[in-house]
């Protein structure tokens, strides 16, 4: 037997302590950087004007099913280049509670806490460390490995920032990878 994995995403005004999104969308299959935080809004209906930024996207991993341990998490942009004038910023490395990113209400303001430049496709080995915990991506108790079930990664937040030289139309479809080991 193996763990069951899904990407989920938080939305809406920050709430609670530690902060989390007002709503959670479960089982998301893609990340669309757009000028909206609403899950149901198509990216084509919320385009980013060149020079502006997308709303932050608060993705996270969710483990369930049968497993003994989840560990060695890494997150990176691993395939396909972005065009000119596009910068993808992402969550910093997480090794525990002290450096996990705390949820804030999504906006199109450049999120200075997203210190990882994910614009270039890199090897997953160069990805940022991901930590795991029980209860939710927002909860304390994050560590580099976990035996609790279900389990959640820290927030794998990204934001697409653009300059005036960004071309109109859809960006290339890129691949974001979450790699983990399972015992």
């Amino acid at each position: 037997m193996a763990a069951t994995f899904a990407f989920d995403r938080d939305h809406g005004t920050q709430t609670g302590s530690p902060t989390r999104g007002t709503t959670t969308s479960a089982g998301v299959t893609d990340v669309n950087w757009k000028n909206s935080d609403t899950e149901a809004t198509a990216y084509s209906a919320a385009p980013i004007t060149a020079g502006n930024n997308s709303y932050d996207n608060w993705l996270f991993g969710h483990f369930s099913g049968t497993y003994n341990q989840i560990l060695n998490g890494l997150f990176a942009h691993t395939a396909t280049a972005f065009g000119t004038g596009l910068t993808l910023k992402g969550t910093p490395a997480c090794t525990g509670d002290g450096d996990r990113l705390l949820y804030t209400t999504p906006s199109a303001t450049a999120n200075s806490n997203l210190s990882t430049d994910m614009t270039s496709a890199i090897s997953i080995g160069s990805g940022v460390a991901v930590c795991f915990g029980a209860t939710g991506p927002y909860a304390t108790g994050k560590a580099t490995s976990i035996t609790a079930n279900p389990a959640y990664t820290n927030y794998l937040t990204t934001q697409l920032q653009t300059s005036g030289s960004a071309a109109a139309g859809d960006t290339a479809t890129v691949t974001l990878t979450l790699q983990y080991d399972e015992n």
């Binding site: 020079g51 502006n52 930024n53 691993t78 395939a79 280049a81 000119t84 004038g85 910068t87 910023k89 910093p92 490395a93 303001t109 450049a110 999120n111 200075s112 210190s115 990882t116 430049d117 614009t119 270039s120 496709a121 890199i122 090897s123 080995g125 160069s126 940022v128 920032q161 300059s163 005036g164 030289s165």
Partner: protein, 89 residues
């Protein structure tokens, strides 16, 4: 508005960056290095309202966070060259 030496995640080196302010008041540092006649153009944005000291601190965090990335581009080029290589006769 001048230039600033900052870490470029694409070049994996400290390079000269042009400083501009965009229409939203966000401060943008854009890498001006040219490689193989192509301008790098990688940029880093800082939210409006930050002080100079805050931006300098964020620039240091930016370097720490992104130094050491291993691009897959060289492997892609090798793979493409390998596909084009003629089989020995």
């Amino acid at each position: 508005m001048g230039t600033k030496i900052a870490f470029c995640a694409a070049e994996q080196a400290d390079t000269e960056h042009e400083i501009t302010v965009d229409a939203n008041g966000e401060i943008v540092l854009t890498c001006t290095s040219v490689v193989d006649e192509v301008a790098c153009g990688r940029f880093v944005k800082f939210a409006a309202g930050l002080t100079v000291d805050q931006i300098v601190e964020l620039m240091a965090k930016h370097k720490d966070a992104n130094a050491g990335q291993v691009s897959i581009e060289p492997s892609i080029k090798v793979a493409e060259a390998l596909a084009d290589e003629k089989a020995p006769e």
